[in-house]
Amino acid sequence: MDELIGYFLYFLSLLSVGGIYALLALGLNVNWGFAGLFNAGIAGFAAVGAYTFAILTTAESTFHYGGLGLPIIIGEISAFLIAGIIAAVIGIISIRLRADYLAIATIGIAEIIKLIFKNQVDITNGPRGINKIPRTWEHFSESRYFSQPILSWIGDNQFWQAFFDSLVNWWWQPLFAATILFFVFVVYMMLERARVSPWGRMMTAIRENEDAARAAGKDVTRRRVEAFIIGTMIMGLAGALLAQHLRFIEPTHTFDPSKMTFLVWVMLIAGGSGNNRGAILGAFLIWFVWSASELFLNGFIDIVANIFNGIDVSMLKNRSGYLRMLLIGLVLQFVLQKYPKGILPERRPAAPGE
């Protein structure tokens, strides 16, 4: 029974993290799939969202400014908006750069963002990071939340304490996963409507042929900035959810570009860029492969050890983390060569507007 619950909880956590990556991939899809913007600064923008959320919602702290203790929803909205504002500034100055140039510029910008979080110790607590970040649903069991309205109208502190103690300790987990999936669903619905709308058609046109779009009266530069901002705002929201999931963020490893940025790109390319469903599918698929590959690789190494009795597999075991990275790299090369358009390729609506 415990085992079944265990698998269920692991599955929920896969869904939660997969959902966060799905949001990142959807944001990237707006950048790349819709508008053809090679944004390689995903980790930086997610970090902006995560830090905005953390600084606004954590309880007062002696380590750093902030700790405003604001409600979670305000933290999420702010993460969304601040990421957008930062993106607007970056977008306006760098949007005219083409493909690889924009990629290099955004990588550089993401690194600068991380350096700022790392060095502005009085705001972000520097490399030591911010902990005790509240998590949706679970946070209600903290007394600073249930001692305040609206919950305090329903019952007093003892009532709530007793109520939360009476629940199984993972009560919040399905709710948290559902919340993330709800965000994914809402963002997906909005983006899907935008994609088949005249806006999506115009963005595709800009991506396909900039000169012709310009001659058809489309304000190409402004539209590009717009797509950059919208995509980045979604990444900011994903960052806020990631901060909730981890409950602790620090600038160095949490937002490591070779893991986060790269993984999201693999997700989008594998799933099918330009296709929102592809982005979501790719995110869940690659995350499942990535997360489960640890279990799988260890089992595989055990089998190898059993077959070749006597050889020392401890080295392989200790380096299995690198084998995983190798695996993801090979998956990417395979997808690029065999399915260059992804598993779910972009499909133009058969009859537009429908």
């Binding site: 083409r98 990629a103 510029a105 910008i109 060095n119 084998l323 990275m325 790299g329 090369q333 690029l336």
Partner: protein
């Protein structure tokens, strides 16, 4: 502040900047060539550099086992160069060539994947740990001391730095000769300047691409070995750490301009080291915590305000 602006400045800020700049410059040559001729940002370039250094170390160890002494790294790197060039050529053949006619993004993604594959392979084979390349401390030799007989007036340069600086100059001269005086060098310049025109004039583009990987691979390995000689250890992540500064150098100098890359490398190297100079007051100008930000900032500013680079390279 200006009264200190003498040999101390040269020894502790200028020469380190120059050495770092030389390493960046050599690495940036390969990046600017691939950018100019194959038209994509090769993210796996740093890994070729790192692999070269690991191979060189392996040959150093082999020489110790079979010959009983450590060769000079600059000798041990010869076989490493051949292997690294072979690696670069096979990566091109199997992972980049299928995408020659695809949109740029696809090949950039492929290089991104290669970066990961090569690094993970090195980590699986050699392990993730730091490996000592050369043991001990390279005490600097002093120059000009006899000339002035004052302790304050001497030039302190460890011999490893002399090797790096002179080595870079020799490679640059050879490279210059190649670009200006050999047939393939001229063809490389032609393709870089205008690929369509080059095709019309009957240049074998695939041959030029091979030459690009050979030259780029050679320079990358040399940059890796020089860096290993300077830091005296090697690590699987050293290539990636150098990648962005090298991109910055290539863009700063102007894409497709090998000498621009050298100039850009020197500028980035100096900027990084001089950012810690106490220009105002006693503290470093910029907190050393922001040191990697120097190259990134130059990179972003350059892209935004003058994407053609100092030497007017091409903008895509």
């Amino acid at each position: 502040m200006w009264e200190n602006f003498g040999f101390e400045f040269v020894n502790y800020y200028f020469i380190p900047g120059l050495v770092l700049g030389c390493i960046y410059a050599l690495g940036a040559i390969g990046i600017t060539l691939t950018f100019g001729i194959l038209r994509f940002a090769n993210f796996a370039h740093g890994e070729i550099m790192m692999t070269g250094a690991f191979l060189t170390w392996t040959f150093l160890e082999i020489s110790n086992i079979f010959l009983g002494f450590y060769m000079h790294p600059l000798i041990a790197c010869t076989p490493a160069i051949f292997i690294a060039i072979f690696l670069a050529l096979s990566v091109d053949r199997y992972f980049y060539k299928p995408f020659r006619d695809s949109p740029t993004i696809i090949i950039v993604m492929a290089s991104f994947g290669m970066m990961l594959i090569i690094r993970s392979l090195v980590q699986v084979i050699w392990g993730p740990n730091q490996i000592t390349f050369v043991k001990g401390i390279a005490k600097p030799n002093s120059y000009l001391k006899d000339f002035s007989s004052s302790m304050d007036m001497m030039l302190l340069v460890p011999s490893k730095h002399l090797f790096i600086i002179l080595g870079t100059i020799i490679i640059m001269l050879a490279f210059n000769y190649m670009l200006t005086s050999t047939r393939i060098g001229k063809a490389m310049r032609a393709v870089s300047d205008s690929p369509d025109l080059a095709k019309v004039t009957g240049i074998d583009v695939e041959q030029v691409i091979r030459a690009t990987w050979i030259v780029g691979g050679f320079c990358a390995v040399m940059a890796g070995v020089f860096m290993a000689m300077d830091t005296q250890f090697i690590m699987s992540t050293m290539g990636f750490r150098m990648l962005l500064p090298m991109f910055a150098a290539a863009i700063l100098g102007g894409i497709g301009r090998p000498f621009g890359a050298v100039l850009g490398g020197l500028v980035i190297g100096f900027a990084e080291e001089l950012s810690a100079y106490p220009w105002f007051g006693n503290g470093p100008l910029l907190s050393p915590g922001y040191k990697s930000g120097v190259a990134f900032s130059i990179l972003v500013l350059m892209l935004v305000f003058r994407p053609s680079g100092i030497l007017k390279g091409r903008v895509f």
